[in-house]
Amino acid sequence: MSFLSYLINGISLGSIYAIIALGYTMVYGIARMLNFAHGDIIMVGGFVIFTCVSTMGFPPLVGVLVAVIACTVLGVMIERVAYKPLRGASSLAVLITAIGVSYLLQNAALLIFGSNARQFTSVVNVPSLKLAGGALSISGVTMVTILTCIIIMAGLMTFINKTKIGQAMLAVSEDTGAATLMGIDVNRTIAVTFAIGSALAAIAGALLCSTYPSLTPYTGSMPGIKAFVAAVFGGIGSIPGALIGGILLGVIENLSKAYISSQLSDAIVFAVLIVVLLVRPTGIMGKKITEKV
């Protein structure tokens, strides 16, 4: 029974990674850049909810909504100010700028909220579910997290396959030049991608802080890195890959924490990533790129 409970908690953690990884993978697929600041948007989302719910006393759902809007605006603004001028520059320059943005967000949060950890009140008020005569207990947050992840995945797949802007995103990710020739506004498509990614980061922030209720300016950076690993794991640029990568990563992390060593769990996660990349250099669901001379 304890194995099952570790597994379910792992899937829940993995669902959060998957939601964050979606932001990485979509931005990478379309703008070909690693948005290192993505993890810090999670933290910003967490602090917005904290301010709304704990300081101002709004109901949790309103807090989440405000966070989603705030993060969307923030994401689009960051793209407009920091990344757009660098379109066409080397990918390394964009990467360093993203690191700069990440520092900026962390230190702005440090100035406003201080370095002490804040106690985050969970935004989920669902009672825990007891199965098998109380031997297996699944907490409300876990269920809501897994459910949210499924809904987001289904919604995003429909959005990309059925709407015009979704199709435009696909086209830009396949061939930016050809998409421009077909009359697609590449700048707008990239802005929409950032908006969606940042909104998802806010939701991930709410779920992450509800599961691990301690909030500091550095809360987002490690889950951000792990979600990035999850995105690479599943094949960067692929949306189902982000889901599979995220959940696998969460399960591996939780099981190794439970059965091997809690200190070494990160090392194990990264080791699995390396093995996967050596066997399949473009990730589990990644497309094979043939090289032309």
């Binding site: 690693l34 660098l86 080397s90 390394l92 700028t97 960067i236 060593s261």
Partner: protein, 351 residues
């Protein structure tokens, strides 16, 4: 003719370093050095070595590595481990430090080869993420390992000190998350400068050698390089492991500058690797002198801004973003070239 120019350029780089050393000696002897500045001198040398060695991987070899701090971590631990183990065998701290430097370089270099063989098969962003993963694994393992020494040899454990199972003479050397404590503080600014010069000597000579040209050919066009018979794996590994072992040297210096050495996310985490990458990119990829200047300026900047207290890291972040946009944005480059043309025109007219 060309060779002479190269020699002059390299001599200028060496001269800058020696000039810095003389300047610091004068300032220190006349008492114009605050204790804050004195504390910064050895870290400055460490960051310069790190930046120059990473430039070899990123700028000369053209592969993005985000795990450079991992090699520094390996060097720091192996060096400090050696110094503490040999405390009874070799009494002189300086001699131990010298051997520790060799051992740190060797260990980091060997790991560079071991990691490089599988990793260098990957390309671009994937290589970056795998090097990041390796750096984190090294940091994580060193954080969890316990090593002790007694009469019968070394004991390892991943649990705690008691499970090492040593006899009465046993000494615990690496204490898990506490790391290594009690390393003698052997690193001085002069030794740091000598190591910087040594690093420059290795890197600059490599770049201007046959091997260096082969490495740069791989960077510029891998397929073309392969088709003229350059052994890609050999030269990639060569650059990567030399870069790693120089990072190991910087690590030994780091380990001997502090009395307690622990692998925290702050000193050996991916943030540190990224910091050093920032030095390299802002200094100019492939430009060794640029790396030195960027490392010095960016290490000093947060300290000089200390008067602004809480705002200093915020300002640092903004400076980073603005510099990046100004340096690399296609529009800014265009504006700059228009501006430069105007100046040239004015000069011609004046003449």
């Amino acid at each position: 003719m060309k060779k002479n120019k190269l020699l002059i350029q390299n001599s200028i780089t060496y001269a800058i370093i020696i000039g810095c050393w003389i300047l610091v000696q004068i300032l220190a002897s006349t008492g114009h050095m605050t204790s804050l500045m004195k504390g910064l001198l050895v870290p400055l040398c460490i960051y310069v070595i790190m930046a120059v060695s990473l430039n070899l991987t990123v700028g000369i070899l053209g592969e993005l590595s985000l795990g450079h701090a991992g090699f520094m971590c390996l060097g720091a631990f192996s060096g400090a481990f050696f110094t503490n183990c040999m405390a009874n065998v070799i009494p002189s701290v300086q001699v131990r430090f010298f051997f520790a430097l060799l051992i740190g370089a060797l260990v980091a270099g060997v790991f560079g080869i071991l990691i490089g063989i599988p990793v260098l098969r990957l390309r671009g962003d994937y290589l970056a993420i795998v090097t990041l993963a390796f750096g984190e694994i090294i940091k994580n393992l060193l954080n969890a390992i316990y090593v002790g020494m007694d009469q019968s040899g070394f004991h390892f454990s991943f649990k705690d000190t008691t499970s090492l199972g040593m006899d009465d003479t046993g000494v615990v050397i690496i204490k898990g998350a506490q790391g290594i404590t009690g390393t003698p503080k052997a690193a001085t600014f002069t030794i740091g400068i000598i190591l910087v010069l040594l690093t420059l000597f290795v890197v600059l000579n490599l770049i201007n050698s046959r091997s260096g040209r082969a490495i740069m050919a791989i960077r510029d066009n891998r397929i073309a390089a392969e088709s003229v018979g350059i052994n890609i794996t050999k030269f990639k590994l060569m650059a990567f492991s030399i870069s790693a072992s120089l990072a190991g040297v910087a690590g030994v210096l780091y380990g001997h500058n502090l009395s307690s050495l622990a692998a925290t996310p702050k000193n050996f985490g991916y943030n540190q690797s990224i910091m050093i990458l920032v030095f390299v990119v802002l200094g100019g990829l492939g430009n060794i002198r640029g790396s030195i200047i960027a490392a010095v300026v960016l290490t000093m900047l947060p300290e000089l801004l200390r008067g602004l207290n809480d705002y200093r890291m915020l300002i640092y972040a903004i400076v980073l973003i603005v510099m990046m946009i100004f340096n690399s944005s296609p529009k800014a480059i265009e504006m700059r070239s228009v501006f430069m043309d105007k100046i040239k025109k004015n000069r011609k007219e004046a003449a």
